[in-house]
């Protein structure tokens, strides 16, 4: 199995109120392609920081990050933006759909950064919505959708450009159990059927069971990695 994400000696510090916090402390990690990872750990363990660095939203203070063969630490902010547009899909806790755009237009948004024609963009956005079972709601504004539907639209937006990596930050944090399970099943399908590499930050142990592997962070370092697939096979 090929490696999708490689982290070496990754460090990141923040200064808050005059105090320097070492959020990531020399982290080494390899993540396989087409694998669903859950990232767990107590608050302040560096989960979201790691997600931001892997997604090219922030720069590390030290170490290297390689995603899909690209060394992110070598890219400028502009180059990172271009790289994100092509290679990563994001799913946020609060859905973060643009309220003034319809579901289809929200999904179409990242496609504006591709060379696709208007009709091709529209067709691709509709395909993505069909994949998450919301084609019939594509002309609805976010406020006209339920929380679960909003998150499914956000997932459709994340896969619209067909990125190899999907990063999700507490995607089920704002959903009830039943809806959360439906969303997690959908993410599992994206992993199994479309072979997406998924890295999902979560506090919810039940959500983590949907992942193939669970990475536990502790004070900016790797704690352990649990393999759910092995555990399931043994069971």
């Amino acid at each position: 199995m090929t490696t999708a994400i490689t982290l070496r000696s990754l460090t990141k510090t923040y200064t808050r109120g005059g105090e320097t916090l070492r959020v990531l402390d020399g982290l080494d990690l390899d993540m396989d392609a087409a694998t669903f990872y859950a990232l767990m750990g107590p608050s302040g363990s560096g989960k979201t920081t790691l997600l931001n660095l892997v997604g090219g939203l922030d720069h590390a203070d030290g170490g290297t990050i390689t995603v899909g063969g690209e060394d992110l630490d070598q890219l400028s902010d502009t180059e990172l933006a271009e790289w994100r547009a092509e290679n990563v899909g994001f799913v946020f806790q609060g859905f973060n759909l643009l309220p003034v755009l319809s579901a289809r237009e929200n999904v179409e948004l990242p496609l504006l950064l591709t060379p696709l024609s208007r009709s091709q963009r529209r067709a691709q956005a509709e395909r993505a919505l069909e994949l998450v079972g919301l084609k019939d709601r594509m002309n609805h504004k976010p406020r006209e959708l339920s929380g679960g539907q909003e998150q499914r639209v956000a997932i459709a937006r994340a896969i619209a450009t067909d990125p190899q990596v999907i990063l999700a930050d507490e995607p089920t944090g704002d959903l009830d159990r039943e809806t959360a399970d439906a969303v997690l099943e959908m993410m599992q399908r994206l992993n199994k059927e479309l072979h997406k590499t998924i890295l999902m930050v979560t506090h919810d142990p039940q959500a983590a069971t949907y992942a193939d592997k669970v990475i536990h962070l502790d004070k900016g370092r790797l704690g352990r990695i649990d393999d759910n697939t092995t555990a399931a096979a043994e069971a």
Partner: protein
């Protein structure tokens, strides 16, 4: 879609957008009118004739000069023609708003002194022959639908008839002017009709002449004539002040103060007020859009797009306001020109004024959008996403 998003963002807060657009519209409308007044003022002064001088009392324009001065002034070397001007200050009985001035003049020297005035309808000769005749500017004639030969009743406020009736002027000519310095709203009648009425007890009012207009002979030095006339009455009985027509118009227009500076100050204040109002709206919009901009940046949109969305929104609001203001100003042009005609005959909404208004609105839009735009561009994705939490 960023353009569609921009438009949707504007329409996302319809009331706020409407109020901002209306604020800009009111401010730009005011600026357009102030600019048109200033331009009209300049045109009026620029078009003033260099071969005409005006003699008034050194005390005030409201103090009349003795009738006997006419012959003495006429004898000054370089004076080719002299014409009396007496402000009548009457009111037309069926006035529709927009005051028009009336003056008593000398018909025999008036025509030769003002070659820019031509009779479009009727006859100047008929006017000059008949003691109670009058000529009126085309705009006022059109406004009231006056025809040649009809009698126009004007109630005197300075010069009142002893029988309590209004003055009756028979319309013998409708004039046009090809100079912005000479308006097409006034009514001119025989000064001698007024003088005779006063002398015969048919009317009451101040005796004398408000202003003497002097036409300078070709080749004569206006400054020398000016000085000679002033020196003539240096020892009384009443001192005079002789000025060029441009200076006289300037003084007449600015009787209430330095109007051009006042207009510019008001315009500047309005400009600042609207700039801060739009800036406030855009800072609020920028703050509200932090989440959206953070998400867009995470998706791969560059910093410039975030700035363009806010600057574009500001520009759109201001240009919409300017469009409304310009439309209103054009619709109100005739009414405003009529209302200001007596003081500023050159009032006109020219292309430069409208372009200036659009330019000012665009500049306010760009300047107001700049600060929130820069803030949006500088905002890092992680900062924006943290603000969500």
């Amino acid at each position: 879609m960023p353009w569609k998003l921009l438009l949707r963002n504007v329409l996302g807060h319809k009331v706020r957008a409407l109020l901002t657009v209306l604020s800009v519209a009111v401010a730009v409308f005011l600026i357009v009118i102030l600019q048109a007044l200033t331009t009209g003022l300049s045109k009026t002064l620029d078009a003033s004739a260099s071969n005409r001088l005006l003699v008034q009392s050194a005390v005030s324009l409201f103090v009349d000069l003795p009738l006997g001065y006419q012959q003495k002034i006429a004898a000054v070397e370089g004076v080719e023609a002299i014409c009396k001007f007496q402000w009548f200050g009457g009111r037309y009985e069926q006035e529709k708003g927009g005051y028009f001035a009336q003056f008593g003049i000398d018909p025999d020297t008036f025509a030769v002194s003002y070659p820019e005035v031509t009779i479009a309808d009727g006859s100047y000769e008929a006017f000059a022959r008949e003691r109670t005749a009058a000529i009126v500017g085309r705009k006022t004639a059109e406004k009231y639908g006056w025809r040649i030969g009809q009698t126009v009743p004007i109630a005197g406020t300075i010069f009142t008839r002893t029988d309590g009736q209004p003055w009756q002027f028979t319309l013998r000519g409708i004039y046009e002017s090809n100079s912005p310095a000479f308006g097409e709203n006034e009514l001119y009648f025989h000064y001698d009709y007024l003088r005779e009425s006063l002398e015969q007890g048919g009317a009451t009012g101040p005796e004398g002449v408000g202003v003497y207009m002097l036409r300078i002979a070709d080749g004569a030095d206006p400054i020398a004539v000016q000085r000679a006339v002033d020196e003539l009455f240096e020892n009384g009985p009443q001192r005079v002040q002789t000025t060029t027509e441009a200076e006289f118009n300037r003084q007449f227009i600015t009787m209430l103060g330095d109007i051009p500076s006042l207009l510019r100050m008001i315009g500047g204040a309005v400009l600042f007020a609207i700039f801060f109002a739009v800036l406030n709206t855009m800072l609020l919009a920028g703050r509200e859009r932090t989440r959206d901009l953070g998400v867009m940046k995470a998706l791969g949109f560059k910093n410039g797009v975030a700035a363009v969305l806010l600057v574009g929104e500001s520009l759109l609001l201001c240009l919409l306001g300017a469009g409304i203001a310009i439309g209103l100003a054009v619709a109100a042009e005739d009414g405003l020109a009529s209302a200001t005609a007596t003081f500023i005959p050159g009032f006109e909404l020219d292309r430069d004024t409208l372009l200036l208004a659009a330019g000012i609105a665009a500049a306010v839009g760009l300047a107001s959008g700049l600060l929130p735009g820069l803030r949006a561009a500088r905002l890092t994705t992680t900062q924006a996403l943290q603000e969500l939490a």
